[in-house]
Symmetry: C2
């Protein structure tokens, strides 16, 4: 399988939400901290390749967060500051950290978000469409000129309420990301292999099913790859894990300039590594303090913990 190629070190365009999150887990509580799919994905991808972010924030969005993105070298031409308040999500997790419980969602400036791409962004070789209204994902794709690689995420809300549009997006992407429940919901198949086959028929060259602590599985027409979750003794806040995974995945593919089966496998491990760091602390705290050496070390550790010889 080969999905085309990204020019070596080509920038990744990330479109999604930037939010102020209030989160409670069994290990602590934070209020109005940096969150949002585009934040997690962009910072994660920035460890591998240049990133261009398209998102909107309100007048209340702290300058320190903008400065944090800038320190990661993220191109913020596409980060619009609109009149009103930033998108806010409030939720909590009980001991089953795979299950987020939403207390409230305030769309605020995100309600009228139109991801218009600045002219240079229209020539982005790699695109990650984070989980937003599939109408907006299509709107972005209409603006990008012949990208080499497009990956998208989605969620149960859009599958239930905009199913046709989700399928339209899937027909135009190379890699579709979703969690196992969403794969079952979208396909109507209880078995994950059958679900993946169903989704592949909708168009993408690869489907990557995220399974939280159980890792991730990639299905394509001629390959199957399963990556374990990195074993963590302390998961403080799982918010953003999936977006961080996607950012690491797409960032790595853009950096290495290949999208064959072997590159996608390595990219999935990069995504897992990034996600494993993200959940070690609240908000983007751990990601923003990460070093490339730590990433390489954990990648190597996953190689060791999955290695076994011939029969």
């Amino acid at each position: 399988m080969s999905l085309g190629s990204c020019p070596m070190g080509g920038p990744v365009l990330v479109v999604g939400s930037v939010a102020l999150d209030s989160v409670r887990t069994p290990f602590g509580e934070v209020t109005n901290v940096l969150g949002g799919a585009a934040s997690y994905a962009s910072v994660s991808a920035s460890f591998f390749t240049p990133v261009r972010m398209v998102a909107v924030v309100g007048e209340d969005f702290p300058e320190t967060h903008v400065a944090g993105f800038a320190r990661r070298g993220i191109d913020l031409t596409g980060l619009r500051r609109a009149t009103g308040k930033t998108f806010r999500w409030s939720g909590y997790y009980d001991y089953d950290l795979n299950q987020a419980h939403t207390r409230s969602t305030e769309l605020n400036v995100f309600e009228t978000f139109r991801p218009e791409l600045p002219e240079p962004y229209r020539h982005s070789p790699c695109v990650f469409l984070a989980n937003i209204d599939p109408m907006l994902q299509l709107f972005v794709l209409d603006q990008v000129r012949r990208p080499h690689l497009v990956a998208c995420d989605t969620m149960n809300y859009w599958i239930a309420n905009s199913r046709e549009k989700v399928l339209e997006v899937l027909a135009r992407v190379d890699i579709a990301l979703m969690n196992d429940a969403e794969a079952r919901q979208l396909s109507g198949e209880g078995n994950l292999i059958a679900a993946a086959r169903h989704i592949l028929n909708a168009g993408p060259g690869a489907v990557i099913v995220k399974k939280g602590e159980h890792g991730a599985t990639m299905f394509s027409r001629d390959s199957y790859f399963t990556a374990p979750g990195y074993p963590l003794e302390e998961v403080r806040d799982p918010t953003g894990a999936g977006d961080t995974f996607a950012g690491g995945l797409v960032g790595y593919l853009a950096r290495c300039g290949e999208t064959d089966d072997s590159a996608i496998r390595r990219a999935i491990i990069c995504g897992s590594v990034m996600a494993s760091f993200a959940v070690e602390n609240f908000s983007l705290d751990r990601l923003l303090s990460l070093s490339p050496e730590e990433i390489a070390e954990r990648y190597h550790e996953i190689r060791q913990m999955t290695d076994f010889g011939r029969l």
Copy 2:
């Protein structure tokens, strides 16, 4: 890590239940078919090394099943036929195939089972103590002379009701097998890494946590290994999967004559392969029709589906 060694091709002693099961799953229903932990583990191990079985059946136990064991070359000197009925288990699974629901358990001849070892069995280099009363597991260990490798399984019932005896067993085994819920229950730790560390402190050189469709994870003092579940499109009956896993694991270790970290990793994959076949059909039907080539092929497939390169 090295847990000692089994002489090359040395026989495995398997002690546990032989049963007549009645099982309903979403994919079918069977009545009074061959079941029991010792049946699954023995047949599974028999693909790798000679097996000696210690178990008891009643007068109603069909000769065809005895003949089936014999065809697999299993030494049945230790299979006692007692007056009364064979142990019977009746249960069902809904769509969550990880969760068995018991309808009834009739211990019958199993109620007074005393696993007395025939003299030659007392010199077995490798021992697998399937899930039975830990008092009986200890009784077996008292009879075996200096085994090279002992592995044991247990279950929630014994952890709740005979905790001290379970810990006594763990202090005398090399490899402890249990599922993730049991590891949490035994250790009182919610996190699996913490749980494994706690259990390792009780004595075994390695703890292998079975996670159903999510595979298995091995923890030792200086190593960590995670094996994926083999992806199956159709799981018809998960009964016996854990026992089949254990049989493949111990059988492989006995056959290769090594119990270092690298051998245990390969053995875990052998266990996964065997379990993946077992669940494809009811009872031991699939195991009894299996060929060594099919085992080697699926082992290779798992190598391919977990393989990824350096960063």
